[in-house]
């Protein structure tokens, strides 16, 4: 019996380690490339080990962060393009605001749906349809819409309000496109909270808001963490709408990454790898912090012990 268990454990570890390698290989390669000089980016045979096969350099990071002389790709007059500071700032601001607002709005609505059947029994499903659309479908009408809105606003309010290539323009879209997921997920979590608990609190004289704050909220906190992470990742990665509806005033990280191509040099692998590495870190850190809650969160209401 013991031998079988040992064999099983070894096999388990072997398989898991194999997949670990598969997972870490592309990531490791990207990180290594971010420290490579242009000549080493694509070479045959591949250059694996730092300090042995190739000389690590901070050149790519210097270039994207604009520290000092970056040699061939120094920019002077151009106003933007390869500026990761701006892109990071824009991404962080837009994504954080959009995710938080979406979470708040969606959670309150999910509560109402759970307790009061707001919107009817089909509402959660119809709202999910929003997410079914390939964003490309609405990208151009949105462009036209955003381009025409200023006229409408001028006519209505006498003031011209721009939407195209603005922070709030993109943020509002991100909120709307992630609301379905927030509602759906939070609905599952809130449904798990027994109504009896709330009834009890109400009977003891608590107001609705207080009930939510003291009874419901603590129980769905992990669910909210998971939802926030999920939505944050979605918005952080969003590419198509940002590509269509922003630049140059607003520039998010995915769009910036796409820019590092040129006709002559092709993909500028080094700087792209550096940006890729930098861009991945916050999300991974966030995920790591919320890890505990992830498993619980993704049960979607299956926890019935």
């Amino acid at each position: 019996m013991i031998r079988r268990r040992h064999v099983f454990a070894i096999v388990r570890h072997a398989l898991l380690l194999a997949w670990t390698l598969v997972v870490l290989f592309p990531i490791g390669w990207m990180v290594m490339t971010s420290f490579k000089d242009a000549g080493d980016w694509v070479s045959w045979p591949a250059r694996w080990v730092p300090f042995v096969d190739f000389e690590p350099t901070l050149m790519n990071y210097r270039q994207i962060f604009h520290f000092g002389d970056t040699g061939a790709l120094r920019r002077e007059q151009t106003e933007q393009a390869y500026n990761i500071w701006k892109a990071t700032f824009d991404s962080v601001v837009i994504v954080t605001v959009a995710s938080v607002v979406s979470l708040l709005l969606g959670s309150t609505l999910a509560y109402a749906i759970s307790r009061f059947r707001t919107g009817g029994p089909n509402y959660p499903y119809t709202v999910l349809t929003i997410r079914m659309l390939p964003p490309i479908v609405v990208a151009i009408p949105l462009l036209i819409y955003y381009a025409s809105l200023p006229e409408a606003f001028t006519w209505l309010l006498g003031r011209r309000v721009e939407f195209f290539d603005t922070y709030y323009g993109l943020t509002l879209l991100y909120i709307v496109t992630t609301l379905p997921y927030v509602i759906w997920m939070m609905l599952a979590f809130i449904d798990e909270v027994p109504r009896e608990l709330e009834h009890a609190a109400r009977l003891m004289g608590a107001s609705r808001l207080a009930t939510i704050r003291k009874v419901v909220f603590p129980l769905v906190a992990s669910g909210m963490a998971v939802t926030l992470l999920f939505v944050f990742i979605l918005n952080w990665s969003e590419f198509l709408l940002a590509l269509t509806l922003s630049q140059p005033k607003v520039l998010t990280l995915p769009v910036l990454l796409n820019k590092f191509q040129s006709a002559v040099e092709g993909r500028l692998y080094g700087p792209q790898a550096a940006i890729g590495t930098v861009v991945t870190i916050p999300v991974v850190v966030l995920g790591f912090l919320i890890q505990k809650h992830l498993v619980k969160g993704f049960s979607f209401g299956m926890i019935r012990r």
């Binding site: 388990r12 570890h13 398989l15 898991l16 997949w19 670990t20 997972v23 870490l24 290989f25 592309p26 990531i27 990207m30 070479s43 591949a46 709005l105 969606g106 309150t108 009061f116 707001t118 709202v127 349809t129 929003i130 079914m132 659309l133 390939p134 964003p135 479908v137 609405v138 151009i140 036209i144 819409y145 509002l172 909120i175 709307v176 609301l179 009834h199 009977l203 004289g205 107001s207 609705r208 808001l209 990665s237 590419f239 198509l240 995915p254 990454l257 796409n258 993909r267 790898a273 890729g276 991945t280 991974v284 790591f288 992830l294 498993v295 969160g297 993704f298 049960s299 209401g301 299956m302």
Partner: protein, 320 residues
């Protein structure tokens, strides 16, 4: 489930007017709906209507402003339905989604099975396995485009493993490119199915399992007849989520192969993008996307119906 019909709140005596107003059930019920509906209407509904209208015109961006474009009626829809490129893209995307999702389910499930019970080092594997889904698809696309070049590390690894000189032209050969896209997708999203399955497995009620073991069932029998059926809803969720996203996929193949070589990896989204942005055939793109919307909606409602059925079944069973 019954509506929350508790007794009227006694409430602490000192109550602001706002607080009292909020207490009313009618208000509390409707209030959260208002901002959400407003946003959806303002930001999505109007563009959708605009999309429908544009699909009925024959508008190209090079044909002046959309308000001046001639009426086309259903001609764009007929064009889409008779266009080989359109059907090819749809067929391709479904095949891709099918292949990728099946692999992701199988791998995710397998990995979840191996890790959902506690054992030493579990935390480490767990952390690592979750990373890929947190990486921006654009980054994944670019990263794999670097790994998959003919003289790149993947071919190097394959050569080392097999002892042959492996030079698969991942990005410039038709079939290989399609496999490459599936590979990248599986790499990234197995992470998500893994998470879903782990959660599902961890949340399995213990009693039925214990009962079955007590009654002498083997591991395998327990798995097949107790755990698997209880996991069905989770499986359905994973399938629905992943398939939905896989059918819409744009970022990763765009960065990886730009839809090439030729049309090998041109998914629906890339096909639409090309028609809208490169050929400026906005009306045509609008019409084809509406057709797709109908197809997707049917699929989605189908899966939602499945989901609800599973959920109801699960509730019924656990209530027993």
């Amino acid at each position: 489930m019954a509506e929350s019909r508790g007794p009227a709140p006694a409430g602490p005596p000192s109550r602001s007017r706002l607080g009292r107003w909020l207490e009313r059930e009618r208000v509390f019920r409707i209030l959260p709906l208002i901002p959400v509906q407003a946003l959806v209407l303002a930001l999505l509904f109007v563009p959708m209507v605009l999309t429908v209208y544009i699909s009925l015109l024959r508008w190209r961006i090079t044909r002046g402003f959309w308000t001046e474009a001639p009426w086309g009626g259903v001609s764009n829809f007929l064009d889409a339905l008779t266009d080989e490129g359109f059907f090819d893209a749809v067929g391709r995307t479904f095949l891709f989604a099918g292949g990728a999702v099946v692999l992701e389910l199988a791998l995710g499930f397998g990995l979840a099975l191996l890790t959902y019970q506690s054992f030493r080092g579990r935390r480490f594997y767990f952390t690592v396995f979750l990373i890929p889904m947190m990486i921006i698809p654009v980054v994944v696309g670019y990263d794999f485009s670097m790994l998959l070049i003919d003289t790149g590390p993947l071919n190097a690894v394959l050569s080392a493993l097999t002892g042959l000189d492996v030079r698969v032209r991942w990005l410039s050969e038709y079939r290989a490119a399609q496999v490459a896209v599936i590979l990248a997708d599986v790499w990234q999203w197995t992470s998500l199915t893994f998470l879903i399955f782990v959660s599902g497995l961890a949340a399995l009620p213990r009693d039925p399992i214990k009962a079955a073991r007590v009654m002498g069932a083997t591991r395998w029998q327990v798995f097949r007849h107790v755990e698997l059926p209880l996991l069905k809803p989770v499986i359905v969720i994973a399938v629905v989520i992943r398939t939905m996203e896989a059918l819409k996929i744009f970022d990763m193949p765009m960065l990886l192969t730009q839809g090439g070589p030729g049309n090998a990896t041109e998914t629906i989204s890339i096909y639409l993008w090309r028609n809208a942005w490169i050929f400026n055939k906005i009306s045509y793109a609008a019409a084809s996307s509406l057709i797709l919307l109908v197809v997707f909606t049917v699929l989605i409602y189908l899966s939602i119906w499945l989901l609800r059925r599973e959920r109801r079944q699960l509730e019924a069973e656990t209530a027993r």
